[in-house]
């Protein structure tokens, strides 16, 4: 088996498994006042501190959620509602056309149900938003912008956005900016304090932590309207009993990811370069998606378009050879649609149907790359025979 889909989810780190299993049998609601509650609370708060340190944030800025999707929804919807409530003119949302569906669909929902006007900022052929484009959009009427949300790094093509520069533009006009950093965390330096962002999304299972937990880093000046009402946990922003074992494991994974980031990026980047070279050798007309400059893309990401192939066919053929990857595109009822990310970079619809994303992680080896190198050529030949149905 060659698992080349770490961007979908990556195996839990032993450190995270240990932290989680140590807590699973321990009783205690972190909101309870008795000894069991205090013990749970301590674990949660230590986890919060650990994670804050890993992300260059203050502990009070860490709001635990059930994952990346919830964090994105809380930031986008919550900040929109709060900003609009403070001034009804603020209904414009500035975002990118390459966002993850957790942001894209949340924004679309606001447009459909809450009167939001959505403006997709232009991107270049690498899928990158330029600060000038944001400035132009903001300065057309700074008073009507509710928020800016642009991802830190793209989940499909790996392009890293100039988040600090974008956030600086938003800050000049007092507009909060959110960034989905689910893919960036652990691969590129993510510091909340240094980013200038109002809110930032991270997720547990993408960095070797458990499923079902994430966090929204939230500047202390910001009070999004909650999605979940209840017991008032997490600064009244996110009610619900805290998942103590998951926070502990998330923190362990976050600590590991931050401490080993440079070394991981170097090693996985070298392996990724090897993978890119191998695919190009086997399929000379394969087109690398995203920024070819290693400084501008996630070190674990490789993305290709294969002319004349259906991504689905490639997936089936590689799966049958024990190689697990992704078309990178979103699925509706399991039916692959051309990726909105790839289309946004100016790729034609036919070529956009023939994409594959290979994403590496902490368990990836040279053998994984070698298996792909051997299988990709024949798979592409065969998929071309089957053509675009």
């Amino acid at each position: 088996m060659a698992y080349l889909d770490h961007a979908a989810t990556t195996p839990m780190l032993p450190e995270a498994v240990r932290a989680m299993t140590a807590q699973l049998a321990v009783t205690g609601n972190a909101s309870s006042l008795h000894a069991a509650g205090r013990r749970a609370r301590r674990t949660v708060e230590e986890s919060r501190e650990t994670l804050a340190a890993a992300l260059g944030a203050r502990p009070s800025e860490v709001v635990f959620t059930a994952g990346g999707t919830e964090s994105d929804n809380l930031a986008v919807k919550g900040l929109y509602w709060a900003r609009r409530d403070a001034d009804p003119r603020r209904t414009r949302i500035l975002t990118s056309p390459v966002e993850h569906h957790a942001v894209l669909d949340a924004v679309d929902w606001l447009a459909e149900h809450e009167g939001a006007r959505v403006e997709h900022l232009p991107v270049d052929s690498f899928g990158r938003v330029h600060p000038d484009a944001l400035r132009e959009a903001v300065e057309r009427d700074p008073g009507d912008v509710a928020l800016v949300t642009v991802m830190w790094a793209n989940n499909e093509i790996g392009t890293v956005m100039p988040v600090r520069e974008l956030a600086a533009v938003a800050r000049e006009h007092g507009i909060p900016m959110h960034a989905d950093a689910v893919q960036a965390f652990g691969q590129t330096e993510v510091s909340f304090a240094g980013s200038g962002l109002a809110a930032l999304t991270v997720s547990g299972h993408k960095i070797g932590g458990p499923y079902g937990i994430g966090a929204l880093l939230l500047g202390r000046d910001h009070a999004p309207v909650p999605l979940l009402h209840g017991g008032g946990q997490e600064r009244q922003v996110r009610s619900g009993t805290l998942d103590v074992p998951a926070t502990a494991a998330f923190a362990a994974a976050g600590k590991y990811a931050a401490e080993h980031r440079e070394e991981f990026a170097r090693e996985v980047g070298a392996l990724r370069d090897e993978l890119v070279a191998a695919v190009r050798e086997a399929v000379p007309d394969a087109i690398l998606g995203g920024d070819p400059d290693p400084a501008g893309r996630l070190p674990a990401n490789a993305h290709f378009s294969f002319p004349g192939c259906e991504g689905d066919s490639l997936l089936l053929l590689l799966d049958a050879q024990g190689i697990e990857c992704s078309t990178g595109s979103a699925c509706t009822a399991g039916v692959a649609q051309p990726s909105h990310v790839v289309l946004a970079t100016g790729t034609g619809p036919d070529l956009a149907r023939g994409t594959l994303r290979f994403s590496l992680g902490h368990t990836s080896t040279k053998a994984d790359v070698a298996a792909l190198a051997e299988a990709i050529g024949p798979a592409v030949d065969r998929a071309r025979t089957a053509g675009l149905s």
């Binding site: 088996m1 609601n29 049958a320 024990g322 009822a333 065969r382």
Partner: protein
Amino acid sequence: MPVLRLLPCAGCLLHTTCDRARLFRSRPGLRSRPPGPGTPGSAAVAVRASGIALGNTAPGPYAGTAMNDFPGAPATPRDGTRLRVLAAMSGGVDSAVAAARAAEAGHDVTGVHLALSANPKSFRTGARGCCTIEDSHDARRAADVIGIPFYVWDLAERFREDVVEDFVAEYAAGRTPNPCLRCNEKIKFAALLDKALALGFDAVCTGHYATVVVKDDGSRELHRASDAAKDQSYVLGVLDERQLAHAMFPLGDTLTTKDEIRAEAERRGLAVASKPDSHDICFIADGDTQGFLAKHLGTAEGDIVDESGARLGSHEGAYGFTIGQRKGLRIGHPAPDGKPRYVLDISPVDNTVTVGPQEALDVTALTAIRPRWCGTPPAGPGTYTAQLRAHGGETEVRAEPVESPDGSGLHVTFTEPVRGVAPGQAVVLYDGTRVVGSATIATTERARPAEARPA
């Protein structure tokens, strides 16, 4: 358990765990799948092993063991590799059991659900269904339980062009199409089969009830299913020998009732065991064919006339009628003889529907177009039995291939007159249980002419 229920919060997790554990205990099929008695290859429970590759020449885990080939399906390769089978899984019970039997027989099976609607509804509205997200999910669950890879292929565009638009155009032309037959001809055993073969599969497996027989010379014949009540050879009669050579029908030779198929699905842990049968046209989700046609063709008021041309009433579109139809004519007054009236003729050119007594429906002969032969076309006239609609009976005929400037055709003469023959439907010729060929009914010859009205 009662103790746990008193615990707050932390207990919730345990509750869930307990409930789930109980669920599994009460449904052993989800964990262990004993092969059902009487199923082929029950000795070899196929579990897909990792690394068994499509096109891989390495021997599979069942290499050397006797595999059970289904009648007429492509033969298992002799080099020790397994037959690579693509199982079309609609989300229904038949195709799920077919895929399970194919896997159990030792073949290298991959499941695929065909997404045939560009905008699938989330859930079924009634018994029908192969086109909803729920059906796709059901198919995926079945594949998971069987232990085979599963994909959804988007054939919505091809389906729209070849089946839905054809369906509408046929009705617009006053004919009564059979979309299931068209789907088998153009989608399952054309678009799907071609893609499967290109990707390295050897066969397409479906849950149809029909049997393929391989002759000594290696040629293939399509026969009625062992169980005549469930036979679906009528909608497969359009398949030619090349298509048959890559078809696998694991349910075709089974003498089991539908209840027994359901019981087999239950034994295999397939949750679709209790799913209702689909009867209607899958792409008309609410079952309202007239509404569907009205939406696509619009309404156009026209006359309902009798055989003499006298106007009896009006209709909102000639496409809303089928030859032989009795109900829904909405003629206010009865016929002079008090007997019911039937649709005798549909004329889309002047948007007129002709009705008359039942005996005027008697058809003595028909011509059919676009014949497709299973095997060598007959050289001259012959005596066969014919089936004229899905689930219809058989009737004795003499049939003869004819050539005209418009192309190949078929002329069929009935030994006894038959009623309710609708142009657009298929006439399928049988020799005993063997399907000889199929063609689309174009015109009929009546015992007494229906077009007596003034020109």
